[in-house]
């Protein structure tokens, strides 16, 4: 009879719930002991190939315009989903400015690391983010005409040059690399260039640094559309875990 009391019914319900919860908990615990999560395969950092390419935009600009001449070679080596990357190029500009002309020519290189976010792709296709440090060695010259009001002085033709200028900058990069056929790859790289520094003639402020662009723009951008050939020397495979 006392079992029909509401308070006793409530207590019995709580005890039943507690016992059920304990049973479920122990069952899960036993299940977990039986099936351990499979160990993560150890990353293989040994490189599997060298990818070498060139920038098609630079070649196109060289062929299509008479104000730019240049080419660029790009290369990278994989270390799992990290890529050590290096670029080397030349860059020359011959620009007509409003009151004269400006020319420069030089070589540059960039080195850096890309991180591939498609690390599990069997073809090693890439969507990457990376960083580059750039260095340029170049010469530049400008020839311009000055005729200032109120024209008390005769017009002045000025020529200045920076024969042994050099500079550095940094880049944050992103892009794609897609395997098209066997060793043929296509891809693009978008670059946000920043923090240019130049060592040059103090009487002539550097205008355009090969590899970087207009130096007055402390934040600049660049874009490469690239074709690559990948020389693979071994297949990428997952190493067994050491016991």
């Amino acid at each position: 009879m006392w079992l029909d009391l509401p308070i006793i019914k409530l207590m019995l319900s709580i005890i039943r719930f507690f016992i059920s919860a304990c049973l479920v908990f122990f069952a899960l615990l036993l299940h977990g002991q039986e099936k351990k999560a499979p160990p993560k395969p150890k990353k293989d950092y040994r490189p599997t190939g060298l990818r070498v390419g060139t920038d098609l935009i630079d070649i196109g600009k060289t062929l299509a315009t008479n104000t730019f001449t240049g080419w660029e070679i790009n290369g990278d080596v994989d270390f799992a989903n990290y890529y050590l990357t290096a670029d080397f190029g030349t860059w020359g500009k011959d620009i007509l400015i409003k009151n004269g002309d400006y020319t420069n020519s030089g070589t540059y290189y960039r080195v850096g690391v890309d991180i591939n976010f498609l690390g599990k792709d069997p073809d090693k296709n890439m969507f990457f983010l990376g960083f580059r440090a750039g260095h340029s060695v170049f010469n530049e010259s400008v020839n311009y005409y000055t005729n200032v009001p109120p024209h008390l002085f005769s017009p002045l033709d000025t020529t200045y040059s920076n024969p042994n200028a050099s500079g550095n900058w940094g880049e944050i990069t992103t892009g794609l690399r897609v395997k098209v056929w066997k060793g043929l790859w296509l891809g693009y790289t978008a670059r946000m260039k920043f923090a240019p520094t130049v060592t040059s003639n103090p009487n002539f402020v550097t205008y355009d640094m090969p590899g970087y662009g207009v130096v007055q723009n402390t934040l600049w951008w660049g874009f490469n559309y690239q074709v690559f050939w990948r020389f693979a020397w071994r297949k990428d495979k997952v190493l067994p875990v050491k016991k």
Partner: protein, 168 residues
Amino acid sequence: MKYAVLIVICVLFGSCLNDGNCLITATNNMHIQFKKLSNSKDSAILLNTVQISGVSKDSIPPVNAKVTEILIPIDIHDTTTIFILQRTNPADSTTHYDTLQVGYTAQTKVIAKDCGAFTYYQNLKVLSSNLKDSQIKAFSTSLLTDPTLYVAGSANYQAYAVNYQIFY
């Protein structure tokens, strides 16, 4: 919607390609203000003529006016310029010749393809003068102008950095 995204991208990249306005701050005009040693409110002097080395006398029109400041061009072909200011002392109507030789360096900057290259004059300093050191107070060592304050056809002194104050 996709066209809107395309337009936004075009505007963003377009702004990267745009050279912007040609705001040129370069000038070869040196800005001198005249002050009275007596701290008088009327600091104007009666300036008759200004001679500038490298310029024939006939090329510079006489001033013959009371002025509180002047803009005088430095020689763009040289790294020094000599100025001779001929003024009249209104107290005794005597004529005085103040000589000022200044030196400077030139720096070339290409502003943009559509703007051109310009010479910026810097490190301005007095090399010699018949005025006492205490009469010349130096301010900006660069010759600069603010293009946003420039008024065509008139000498807007406010648009130019003050280089020297000369005390009489």
